[in-house]
Symmetry: none
Amino acid sequence: MPLSKTLSDCLLHVDNALPQSVDRLLELLRIPSISTDQHYAPDCERAALWLVRTLNDLGFEAEIYPTPGHPMVVAKGGHYQEGPHLLFYGHYDVQPVDPLYLWDRPPFDPQLRDGPKGPIIFGRGASDDKGQLMTFIEALRAWIAVHGSMPCKLTLFFEGEEESGSPSLIPFMEKNAELLKADLALICDTGLFGENTPSIVTTLRGLLGEEVTIHAADKDLHSGMFGGAAINPLRVLSRIIAGLHDDTGRITLPGFYDDVPELPDAIRAQWQSLAFDHASFLGDVGLSVPAGEQDRTPLEMLWSRPTCEVNGLWGGYIGDGFKTVLPAKAHAKISFRLVGNQNPHKMRQKFRDYVTAQLPSDCTATFKPHGAGPASAMHISNPAFDKARQALSAEWGVTATFVGCGGSIPIAGYFKTYLDMDALLTGFARDDDQIHSPNEKYDLSAYRKGIRSWVRILDALTK
Amino acid sequence: MPLSKTLSDCLLHVDNALPQSVDRLLELLRIPSISTDQHYAPDCERAALWLVRTLNDLGFEAEIYPTPGHPMVVAKGGHYQEGPHLLFYGHYDVQPVDPLYLWDRPPFDPQLRDGPKGPIIFGRGASDDKGQLMTFIEALRAWIAVHGSMPCKLTLFFEGEEESGSPSLIPFMEKNAELLKADLALICDTGLFGENTPSIVTTLRGLLGEEVTIHAADKDLHSGMFGGAAINPLRVLSRIIAGLHDDTGRITLPGFYDDVPELPDAIRAQWQSLAFDHASFLGDVGLSVPAGEQDRTPLEMLWSRPTCEVNGLWGGYIGDGFKTVLPAKAHAKISFRLVGNQNPHKMRQKFRDYVTAQLPSDCTATFKPHGAGPASAMHISNPAFDKARQALSAEWGVTATFVGCGGSIPIAGYFKTYLDMDALLTGFARDDDQIHSPNEKYDLSAYRKGIRSWVRILDALTK
């Protein structure tokens, strides 16, 4: 089918205006909007204001909505247009950058530069999620430039706490359900499958974050004076962590797998057809052996099985040299990826019960919750999924696939729970984008084709 | 036995001159000789010069010996005297003072003031080790005042790096063996047993320090993208640490206990007679249950049994908030307290072999050594030990005890290894002296009786 004149005009406009699209992304990347560290709260606000200004310039009515944490941005446009009411979601906050010394150049001095496989946009947030959210904004910019109007009624919704557990999100959605309700949510925070296959995510794992501190003596002790007789909380914590998995890689919390469904045959067949190359997936990061439950395939480990991971562990003397201290406390940040109907709050309680039951004499544990969201499964019978799939296939020259996602994008579940709205997740990140790591990048080709993909999706959904 | 006239004269002299002895100690305490901080290097030199001047005034030939770090002081006296050649060792450097705000008054503006249990000498170094080393110098001063001569041939040896790992000590001892060799070393850097019982330390545990890093992926990973399929080095390290002890508290390294002697019956009987109150020892720091090997007494755990402790543990994200990272590396600082004939270098190898054997696929380990010294056991058959014990018992009105020490005072082992010289360790610090902490103090009563103790020991050893 030949492209309609306006669609091809729009795509041409994207290509011609790409340098300016890159410049605008670099501008946003220069703002160090690290949400987990309060030092950067003013920068989070600057990033929110940047979006408001950008969207107002495009003809939206954009506003800052303060929260107890970082502000939300909501923009409304295309009030008088026909067709579906679409909501687009993205997040303007980014991950911390430490260890800084591993970055090739300053993470907040972004640059368009050459990479081994072509030009890249380098900087913290280039891929997650500033670059991705900008694909949608730049697609709208092209659309408006060519058509002189918006494609349909639109709500754009940006948060600044995605990388720190979204503490303000649910209260905000509950309070502003009318403001946010639309026919379909679009989310751009996921990646291509392999190098070049566009994908729509149909399942997402949930996430439960928990911080535990083991308390022993009431002060740090000298290991010569007390060593042997005084309990060491680092040893206690190590045993607790070691006991969370058995030798086959299964998580040992009682009843942990009760609400974990087996993979439906249809999905299993589709995943097999993906011919996922786990050897190169792991090989790219210096690993070779899938480390999860021994009786599961690598894709199951990543997409349909729950996990328990230590994301941070610390205690005692961790500077240069040596100090013979028996510390008073030991700390861990632990997260669970959840699937199926696993209830995050029940799982939190199971974890706390397990830790408490493991404590030896003289030790106590305190807990700090860090967010909890269930797994999500999309209703792919919604025709929008097929339309988007065809639009993506046309742009990339490869049939787009429905995939699972090992990550947790709780917002997709929240849209369903709080606004009764399906979410269509697609995105253009590549596995080597180094998100959450030093030297984050977004391929220029992904940025260009991402913008063009949204132009095509908007065209397909509003035709 | 009535005191000889000259001994009672000496003791009386100590009491009469006590105010001047305190003034001299205060003068030394005013010098902020913090060895670990290069900022205070000139102050370390001032403290060394203060000792040289003080000892020369007493009739010694004292000299500064430069090292790559802080200088040594060696003083010679009593060349023509009869009897044993005694070496006295102490250290003029002190611990850092931070956090400064926890001090009741400036740490280097020392003062004789009232404490809850009597007058105290307040200030950094009052107990560790300036007050203790001054007990010996002031004892000599009294001796010389009364006798008009030194008690025997004497070498006084002071270092300024004890609180920062003594990097110059072994090279200095190797190069100056002739200068330092004597019949017996006296060391005043330990404490009373309980409130009021003088003690001579007869065993010291050795110390082995080791840092291990577990390497997994070649970069930090996102736990959503990789969690389940990628190995987590924090989990690996936790299992390794958890596996170092069995459920009864024994260390699991093969052959670890081969060179650990059982406690001789005589020592066991003596330790039982000490009526060590482990409930209050642990209770003072908020603990209640001895945490070591289940079939050992608390004193064995502290003095005669080896330990393995984690002194530091870290990896992943340890800042505020949460980061769903699967780290590339995990680190631990681990130390072993050694006893009997345990060879630190063999133990290091055992530990490394164990870690290496525990590594799953895709993980490697690197190691960094942090010092290694064997345990020491004094030859208490040397008659000097019994003479000193009687002298201490006479001064304190309580039978002095032979005790173990859970800590590691490497100099005692070095005197044996490099100079083939036994060391007699006694000292007058109390558990509440706050050494290495804010508000360090030395009881005036400990200072007085400490000086008098040395007068009696010198009398006993030279009679």
